[in-house]
Symmetry: C2
């Protein structure tokens, strides 16, 4: 999409030049808006990429649609590696591959840093102005000013004359200001698990040492290791692990303990991790939390992306949800291009329930990933659901598919998923149902019919 | 209790000289601790009482026990007016009295300002130092400093060398600092109802114009008015009312609308409110929220009272719960007088679940007060429960009694209350059960037995 002639509307201020802030700036600049973006980190094109704690991400359908609307799907596809399913690693090294969807469906591993740079660059090309090294410390919602701290420790006060978007992440300065206003609901809830990033480097010839086109999971009930492929032949691994308890970050305090634990649980991964011990003790242990808040909009100020709805990473939807925020906001803007109050009111009306829903789904998917994917009954259930989907695609779409490969609003996916869960729990209660007899024993049409009546 | 000789332990810093801060300072000073209290408001003994939004409160058993431990029960009883039950006012002016408990049981209306002054004065007498006009703006948990703003706009930085208690209320500065630490869970949730304080002045001879020894309620399903007696013959009334909607603060915008609404709904109260319209438009509309957070303790810093667990006022337990915090904390301190880390760890271990429980009970009691007390089926149910309690006092204690007239931990009261709720919901499902036949039809021993097995 080419830039339109300059829009007569007020200038737009965006806090944060992360993934969502950059995409939003791009989409608004493409519509002719004057856009200023303030970002605390230095320009990654000069300083190298420094921020953000997770170095790769899984792009799925919702993210792609937003990128397409911004004309960015093609360039981003160059950076992305398709992952067609989950490759599960048993303790003895046995591999089980489970496709994510139908043939051709995949989620895409992409480097956060490269994606961010591509979006920032495109937004600048479209006319947005980026001010790196300008961290927003305080927003005065009454005076309509933002207080910026520069990398050389100067403080600047700026007035914002038009809409102010807080795309400034899970610890948003705009949200802190909103939290001090009357009747602002807010919640931040941590889970008892932390994470640690580790690396499987490329092989001697630069090749991937595990199947490249899969998301690898080592599910171990109370914890798990995952690995996503990078273009340079490496994998970024993440250990999701309890902070406290018998087997936990607190209990692994020596190199010998770490080696013994990996030898027992992740021997095949350990064999590919020459720097395991160094990385384990050098890399920080991250924490994981869910933010829910509202209203997102007060006057001209609005939250978007993680600032509005930080979620845990277990459904791979954090970025995708933030990109969908941008897509929906700009659709509303296209319906009434010169009426920001109406656009923001509609955004506040429509979007928060879906952020709540994906927040809930993301928490629930942790249980599925760490626990259930290692369970033969779970695999049988997935097989039955896949068959239901294949035979009755109108009435039975697996939850994972609704979330990952569709644009169905998240709250609707949550509702239908809960209905499926009730139906499948009843089916799986029969202990005599097995992989050998389910096709004879189950009336799939009747099960699909139950979903059909669920609307 | 007389002051003990000076305690060898570290000095204790308390933020906030409200009800909980003052009682805590008193109880610690009585144990020989050196206590400094910093309060943003001016000294009420010089400036008159200015802070706090609710001018009277209902003291009940938990509050009294804490006051007794501090040697303050007798002086406070001088200030308090017993309320033996709820006096319900129907739209046509019909009165129904419902005792709160057994004969002699009562809750006590007390002026927040007078109670606060009595506690502050006693704490000073016991050796605590109070610094009024010193508002804590910021706590640095790493550097162990607090930043205080004085009434003449100076800023002071002070180091705290021992325990730091945040008794600084629903908008606590200490809690704001904790919220920025990793893995701190926090939630603030507003309800859609606001409140407005109104006055029924004393009669011509200074007498109370409604029954003095009752808490008056005008339950109107979607909203309610309440009134508590003051020693000067007046009543403080509070209207709990939706912010938005057909009948709401937003819909009553003219004096004529207010008068017409009160005439239709609260005619008997309106007749006693000569300044209704002036007060309605002059007094602020307050908002109501619940704060849940944790952990309350980080290092030497600990939250107490509303700072840890602001709750809605509908069970009359906000102050009582804060006073119980002080009672339990000092019991722990008496068990291990010179080990603050152990005391704070035990406090953090024991207390938060009970604050969560009373927060939930307070939200639920709003429904009961505004809605159910006006319902004849509800009154029948209360009668049955009262009889169950009279005949089987070991096994059936009404929820209100457990919360208000006992020291049973709140979480236990919540659990038993939920069990009673399930039993009574089943009983009341029979539409043919009436006030005339329930004594013949119900097997009370069997109902009580169901509770007995609930432990």
């Amino acid at each position: 999409m080419n830039s339109l002639p300059s829009h007569p509307g007020p200038p737009v201020t965006v806090l944060g030049a992360g993934l969502v802030g950059s995409l939003l700036a791009l989409m608004l600049a493409q519509r002719g808006h004057s856009v200023q973006v303030y970002e605390g980190r230095p320009d990654p094109r000069r300083a190298g990429y420094t921020g953000g704690r997770s170095i790769n991400l899984a792009l799925s359908e919702r993210g792609w649609l937003a990128l397409e609307r911004a004309g960015m799907a093609a360039p981003v596809r160059e950076l992305a590696i398709a992952m067609h399913g989950r490759m599960m690693h048993a303790p003895d090294g046995t591999l089980t591959f489970q496709p994510y969807g139908q043939a051709g469906q995949a989620i895409y591993s992409v480097s956060r840093g490269l994606l961010n740079q591509a979006l920032t660059h495109a937004a600048e090309q479209a006319g947005a102005s980026f001010y790196f090294g300008h961290r927003c410390r305080r927003v005065d919602l009454e005076a309509h000013t933002i207080s910026l701290q520069t990398t050389n420790h100067q403080t600047k006060e700026l007035a914002y004359l038009g809409p102010l978007f807080g795309a400034d992440g899970a610890f948003s300065a705009l949200r802190q200001a909103l939290q001090r206003t009357d009747r602002f609901n807010y919640s931040q809830q941590y889970i008892d698990y932390g994470y640690k990033e580790l690396t499987i480097p490329p092989g001697a010839n630069g090749q991937h040492q595990l199947e490249k086109h899969a998301l690898h999971i080592w599910p171990r009930h109370n914890y798990m290791l995952i690995a996503l492929p990078n273009p340079d032949g490496s994998f970024t691994c993440t250990l999701f692990f309890p902070f406290e308890g018998e087997t936990s970050f607190a209990s692994l305090t020596t190199p010998a303990q770490v080696q013994a634990f990996f030898a027992a649980q992740f021997a095949d991964a350990q064999a590919l991790m020459p720097d395991l011990v160094e990385e384990f003790f050098a890399n920080p242990t991250g924490s994981l939390h869910t933010v829910r808040c509202g209203p997102w909009v007060r006057g001209q100020a609005a939250l978007i992306g993680d600032a509005a709805h930080a979620i845990v990473p277990f459904f791979g939807q954090g970025m995708n949800c933030g990109f969908e925020d941008c897509r929906i906001l700009t659709e509303l803007l296209d319906q009434q291009p010169s009426d920001w109050p109406a656009v923001l009111a509609a955004y506040q009306q429509q979007r928060p329930p879906h952020a709540d829903a994906i927040g809930e789904l993301a928490l629930a998917n942790f249980l599925e990933m760490r626990d259930l994917v290692a369970d033969p009954r779970f695999l049988l259930r997935k097989k039955i659901e896949a068959q239901l989907h294949a035979r009755f695609p109108q009435h039975w779409v697996p939850l994972y598919t609704m979330v990952t490969f569709s644009h169905l609003p998240y709250a609707e996916a949550l509702r239908l998923g809960q209905r499926q869960e009730a139906i499948m729990r009843a089916v799986m209660q029969d202990p005599t149902l097995t992989a050998d007899n389910w096709e004879q024993r189950l009336d799939l049409a009747a099960l699909a019919q139950q979903m059909a009546t669920a609307g």
